[in-house]
């Protein structure tokens, strides 16, 4: 965790303590609200109660009701209001309770927030950070499990950020809040409380022993657009983000494969240099995401790797994804791209 040491050197990061991802996200908002009186937090159930996942717990008590408040149940309204607040000069951090509920806000995000800077030639901007828990693996059924990141990566003018550890979550969220463009910050809820090796039938882990669970209490940021090599290796490159970083890592370690795993952290803007360098070194590439396959962000990654590393590739790029179905409830683990699906793809990719 070289990032920790670097940022701690500025003196602002403070003591490093153990946090889970919820606590790290909460800490990021608290730090930013302390530093910038224009940062406000709002969303369904985020105020007095502190959010259905507790991400905003204690913030209203600390910063008051005019800076941390509950909202009506209208995602269109939440984002539209946040855009207006941004135009006033605030820096809103709205929460959409589940990514599955973000669709009523699509017009406000896609046609308004994402284009405001462009269409007004910079007179108005939308410096929002839309936080939203996403992804499955929690028996959430079709309305609490989706991964809609590919919808937003297709939109010009919005950044998409997905952390995979508490440390990254805090540093990336701070950078997102400080960013002057709209950021969709998807939080992989399956790993809120601990990393996940993909084996749903084994005991859940927590963050207490993972290096990414060591989080400075103060201010530090992780620049958007910078990927992290979470596991160096030479046999192949795995591109992943969120929960799938951990599943992929556990799988290659169980199989004894010397994979290089890149946690993208930011999908737009993408750290293409790190990807290219790795794939040119390993000659093989696998893309993993939980979202549905067709038209997913994996297709974009696969195309980019093919365009830029074609003459270094020794096998076609493998895509491991969720299926093109609604997210199922009872058959969740048949849908989820777990160790079996990843393992088969690894064998295919490495067979020649």
């Amino acid at each position: 965790m070289s990032d920790v040491i670097e940022t701690a050197a500025t003196g602002e990061a403070g003591e490093t303590v153990r946090m889970n991802m919820i606590q790290a996200i909460n800490s990021a908002m608290a730090v930013m609200m302390e530093r910038d009186p224009n940062v406000i937090v709002m969303g369904e159930d985020v105020g007095y109660f502190g959010g259905v996942f507790r991400a905003t717990a204690g913030l209203q008590e600390k910063f008051g009701k005019t800076r941390v408040f509950d909202t009506p149940i209208t995602e269109c309204g939440i984002i539209g209001v946040a855009i207006g607040m941004g135009a006033y000069g605030l820096r809103p951090v709205p929460e959409i309770q589940f990514a599955d509920y973000i669709y009523p806000a699509l017009d406000q995000l896609v046609s308004e927030a994402a284009r405001l800077r462009y269409r007004s030639a910079g007179q108005f901007t939308a410096p929002l950070t839309v936080r939203s828990p996403f992804g499955g693996g929690i028996f959430g059924g079709q309305t609490h499990s989706q991964s809609p990141e590919g919808i937003f990566t297709h939109v010009s003018g919005v950044k998409t950020v997905i952390p995979s550890t508490p440390y990254d979550a805090k540093g990336l969220l701070i950078a997102s809040i400080e960013d002057n463009d709209p950021v969709i910050f998807f939080e992989p809820k399956r790993i809120y409380n601990g990393p996940f090796n993909g084996h749903w039938d084994r005991p859940a882990e927590n963050w207490s022993k993972h290096p990414g669970g060591a989080v400075p209490e103060g201010y530090y940021r992780i620049e958007l657009g910078k990927a992290a090599i979470v596991r160096p290796g030479n046999a192949l490159t795995i591109l992943a983000y969120g929960t799938m970083v951990h599943v992929a890592k556990a799988t290659v370690e169980e199989m004894g494969i010397d994979a290089e795993i890149i946690d993208l952290r930011t999908l737009v803007p993408l750290d293409i240099e790190t990807i290219e360098e790795s794939v040119k070194k390993t000659g093989r590439c696998m893309v993993v995401h939980e979202a549905t396959r067709t038209g997913g962000f994996g297709a974009e990654l696969s195309a980019l790797v093919q365009e830029r590393c074609f003459y270094h590739l020794e096998a076609p790029v493998e895509r491991v994804t969720g299926f093109d179905t609604p997210y199922p409830h009872s058959l969740e683990w048949a849908y989820f791209p777990g160790p079996v699906r990843i393992g088969q793809a690894l064998k295919k990719l490495l067979k020649d």
């Binding site: 269109c76 309204g77 209001v81 855009i83 207006g84 000069g89 605030l90 800077r117 462009y118 803007p269």
Partner: protein, 427 residues
Amino acid sequence: MADVPRNLPPLSLHVPEPKFRPGDAVDFAAVEVPPAGAQPRPDTAADPASFHDLSYTLVRVLDDEGNAVGPWNPRLDPDTLRTMLRDMALVRAFDERMFRAQRQGKTSFYMKCTGEEAVAIAATHALSRDDMCFPSYRQQGILIARNYSLVQMMNQIYSNSGDVLQGKQLPIMYSSRDDGFFSISGNLTTQYPQAVGWAMASAAKGDTRIAATWCGEGSTAEGDFHSAMTFATVYKAPVIFNVVNNQWAISSFSGFAGAEATTFSARAIGYGMAGLRIDGNDALAVYAATQWAAERARTNQGPTLIEHFTYRAEGHSTSDDPTQYRSAGEPSAWPLGDPVARLKAHLIAIGEWDEERHAAQDREVAELVKASQKEAEKNGILGHGLHQPLDSLFDGVFEEMPWHLREQRQQMLDEEEASGRPWARKA
């Protein structure tokens, strides 16, 4: 459970139909026009529940003789009245000229506000200069009333080298932060929740400025409208919602937004919000209603919904031909008259204006518009030459340009090079 009954009459689907179609004789006798001055003016601190009646009538100040009557008379001084009259005459002259410019092929698109000039202009005069406006696409009167440069407006319409929006937006989708004029979207009613957010921010910061927003009656059907109404009521946001009921949403009459069942002002009642339904062609009623709503907002009484009952006297835009779907007799038969003529009649009635001065003013604004156009066209017209640097196409997507946009920008420049730079040659 009861048996499924037999012998039931068949259901029927009601699809609204406007009263008059092309070729029909127009008779607006069914439009209820109450006498001017007859509506009470509640205290601005009054409970909205105590004046629901005002959502089912029309607040009117100017009577048929041009007198300002009743408790809503804002008692404006003659200079203010004359300024409003000139602003309305100016926006009408501007519309005429720019409509023609589009027909002459100088730009792609234009939208007039003919017949509903008072809605934006009188409201703007009743607001403070630093209040924030979130308009739809037919409130060019706000910019005129705030003395925004006509040349700048035209530069935007032509997307020329003087366009402060750098040719990035469709004509008339203005934006002027310094003039409290939010960037117009073109997607309908998205500005409603944004206005509420701005107003909430102003309140949260202990500011004194309020927000005002406008949408058409047709777009009250959008979810954004209802989201905005809920948010505004919940937080008592200092915002004024203007619904410009000009009877037509392109070719769909107001019945497709629910006007057969109730008024648009009545939407306020369900939210517990203050609602007013006013004569939108009466500049004094628009002024008075806005002033009243602004006072409510400024004293933390919360939002007000104002339905401006008016008429879209011309097509939706230069891309529209209203003779295809409505009777040509409608505009002249409209029972609330022409807002410019009515304010003019009032000024004449109080001895502060006359026909000669009016005719001279019409000539003066026409000349001003003409001279502004000449000035603006020095910066170019749409489609004639390259008005913005080619690579500016990629500016402003993000604050800082990421690699993928830099690559695409280079690709575009290479394409231009390969093509022999036809755009550059034209310039």
